[in-house]
Symmetry: C2
DNA sequence: CGACTAAACGCAATCCCTTTGCGTTAAGCG
DNA sequence: CGCTTAACGCAAAGGGATTGCGTTTAGTCG
């Protein structure tokens, strides 16, 4: 669903999409995001502007698609042997990547050209999947009966981590970009795991 | 700072700004947000398009300014006599207003045309001020030594409420718009106040 | 109170992004 | 292998975005 509903997933359509996406990434690196226009991307991709307009409807929607692809995690969370260490390390890396200049630009683009909210939902789903991996691993270790419904002495449920770790990080990045460090991520994880044995 | 750095706060400049802002609000109500263009707004405001382009630089930046004005709270949080009741009521109203179709559009606009992040910061400052009012009132009542640094049995600090109530609400609105009700706001407040006597 | 400076605005010409109709290509399918 | 139609290329308007220049006027200083 990252690209528009494609009734024809193969052949020329697929080549056009790959070519356009590559053109966006190249031009973004060469001339910067501000200089991007639909005719410019079209020329680099070897297609006509009307093709892009018909398929994506808008420059912002195209950039939104590219941004979501770039926000997809490329590696699994590292295994440090314990839930607290895993979650802390993941949250720190998440904050680092997302709060970088490039990361903030991708988040904004993903939210921007997104009439139905599908792309933004995809971003959230990526983070949720990563969190699930960490929590599943803890459950397999038998930590505190992890994955329970967030009882006082159980490992937090997925939704609790989304609410109290991921959400505050994203809120700060979007609304209060000043003074953000990995310390903040560590504190959030510590609070979310409050009352758990270490 | 809502308008661009205005070296001339009075006279014609002020009239132009007021006229343009009014034109945006009128046309937004009449023809919908999608139909807005700079020439259209300019014609309604009785100015030339170049004036708008020079002053705001872009339609999105203009809409961002208008959106921030609309997101400014117009009333103080209601006083229900106790911290928990005050915070719950405020959070429910906050979620209702922000998750509405109009509210989401304003949030998106505010984030959109915002190169330096000043407008987004203003939105966060509005919410923080409202939270401060609620917490200050609790402190004046002498509730739990409210306003302390978030100790286990103290009322939560402002930052704790921003992290665990405001941030999750905004995250859900932006990234997971499905199935959002006042129940969610109430749960968040309950968790933030966990361990407090009622 | 009057003259000066420069920011802000109006006007108009230009550029090029956006949109749309029509013919052509080729992907999917029986 | 032939049919159907989605997807693409082409080209022509149509209109929004940009900019130079002259004019107005807000703010300031003598």
């Amino acid at each position: 669903m990252s690209p528009k509903p494609m009734a024809r997933p193969g052949g020329r359509s697929a080549r056009v999409q790959a070519s356009v996406h590559a053109a966006v990434r190249e031009l973004e690196a060469e001339r910067g995001r501000e200089a991007l226009t639909v005719p410019l991307v079209a020329a680099r991709a070897g297609v006509t502007p009307s093709t892009i307009y018909r398929r994506w409807g808008d420059l912002q929607e195209l950039l939104s698609d590219v941004a979501v692809e770039r926000l997809r995690p490329d590696t699994e969370p590292a295994d440090h042997g314990a839930l607290r260490a895993d979650l802390t390390a993941w949250a720190e890396q998440f904050l680092d990547e997302m709060s970088s200049t490039a990361g903030r630009a991708y988040i904004r683009d993903a939210l921007l050209g997104d009439p139905d909210g599908g792309n933004a939902g995809q971003c959230s789903a990526y983070a949720a999947a990563q969190v699930d991996l960490v929590l599943d691993r803890a459950r397999e270790r038998g930590e505190n009966g992890a994955g329970g419904e967030g009882g006082e002495a159980d490992a937090p449920a997925r939704e609790a981590v989304m609410d109290h770790v991921v959400a505050p990080i994203m809120y700060r990045i979007l609304f209060r970009p000043e003074g953000l460090s990995t310390v903040y991520a560590r504190e959030l994880v510590a609070r979310a795991l409050d009352g758990l044995p270490d």
